[in-house]
């Protein structure tokens, strides 16, 4: 395991964006591979609580498509896919994404940026929503900074009286 505690940072750099930043103790070529090779993707992305990959197809070319389908322990499936629009190995990967049963309106654009320093990689994954209707997702993430910045107090106060 890594000696340093790797912290996942979630921020909202723009009105339609959610960004997640995380440091990995590995060169960025490996991180890039982990995002783009099916045999590696199937080992980490979205496989939790009994969910595994049923389909993991990657056509890593500009204009090429990817298709991911996860299957849950009860047999339910969740699928998503998109098109790669920019590929600069090992520093940048841009793709569209759309879920079969969308949890947000429209399509999103994901931008993965990898920078390396002293053998460690800072990964920033930014999701940009397409439409005004999709802003609920952005607002959801905005809530986080709201809570963490100034509403810890409100949160704490509510903790004891929350009716669920």
């Amino acid at each position: 395991m890594m000696a340093n505690a790797a912290k996942l940072e979630i921020t909202t750099p723009g009105d339609r964006e959610i960004a997640m930043t995380r440091v990995f103790d590995a060169p960025r070529e490996l991180v890039f591979d982990a995002w783009t090779k099916p045999e590696l993707l199937t080992r980490w992305l979205g496989i939790h609580n009994g969910w595994t990959f049923a389909v993991c197809e990657v056509d890593l070319r500009v204009g090429g498509k990817f298709r991911f389908v996860w299957r849950g322990p009860d047999g339910n499936e969740m699928g998503m896919g998109g098109t790669y629009t920019e590929i600069v190995r090992p520093e940048r990967l841009v793709s569209t994404e759309r879920f079969d049963e969308s949890w947000y309106p429209g399509e999103a654009v994901d931008t993965l940026v990898l920078t390396e320093k002293d053998g460690r990689t800072t990964s920033t994954l930014t999701m940009r929503l397409e439409s005004k209707e999709a802003r609920d997702v952005v607002l959801r993430s905005g809530m986080e900074s709201g809570i963490e910045a100034g509403y810890a107090r409100l949160d704490g106060l509510l903790g004891s009286q929350v009716r669920t």
């Binding site: 996942l8 959610i18 490996l30 591979d33 979205g46 607002l139 107090r153 106060l157």
Partner: protein
């Protein structure tokens, strides 16, 4: 990216987040967290007219974040914890899913690094 609750959409959650997007409404909620207050009391506290306060309260009420007494003349507003707790939980799940993804990725990267060291070029 991945959804945290697979395929579910929750209109109420959307309303909650929309209501919480406004800093004034969050400030009003923060005030109500320490006890109920009437429109007049809130208007005194914030640099706003009573009409403006009422508007914000309506949004908060529609989102289920507050309730207002119907009978009393003051109609004090009171905070309702449940929608806020749901909103917080949503984010916690979202964060958890990605923390999980990235922890698995950590382990995989360790493995790849070792393989690379042992076997030279992959």
């Amino acid at each position: 990216m991945q959804p945290t609750s697979y395929g579910t959409t929750d209109r109420r959650l959307d309303a909650t987040f929309a209501a919480l997007a406004d800093p004034t409404r969050r400030a009003i909620l923060a005030r109500l967290a320490s006890g109920e207050a009437s429109v007049t009391e809130l208007a005194e506290r914030f640099p706003m007219t009573q009409a403006a306060v009422s508007k914000h309260l309506k949004v908060l009420e529609r989102a289920g974040l507050i309730s207002r007494a119907r009978d009393a003349q003051r109609r004090p507003s009171r905070i309702e914890g449940r929608p806020l707790a749901e909103a917080t939980r949503w984010l916690e799940r979202y964060r958890k899913v990605w923390e999980g993804n990235y922890e698995r990725l950590d382990a995989l990267l360790d493995e790849l690094k070792t393989a690379k060291r042992k076997g030279g070029e992959r």
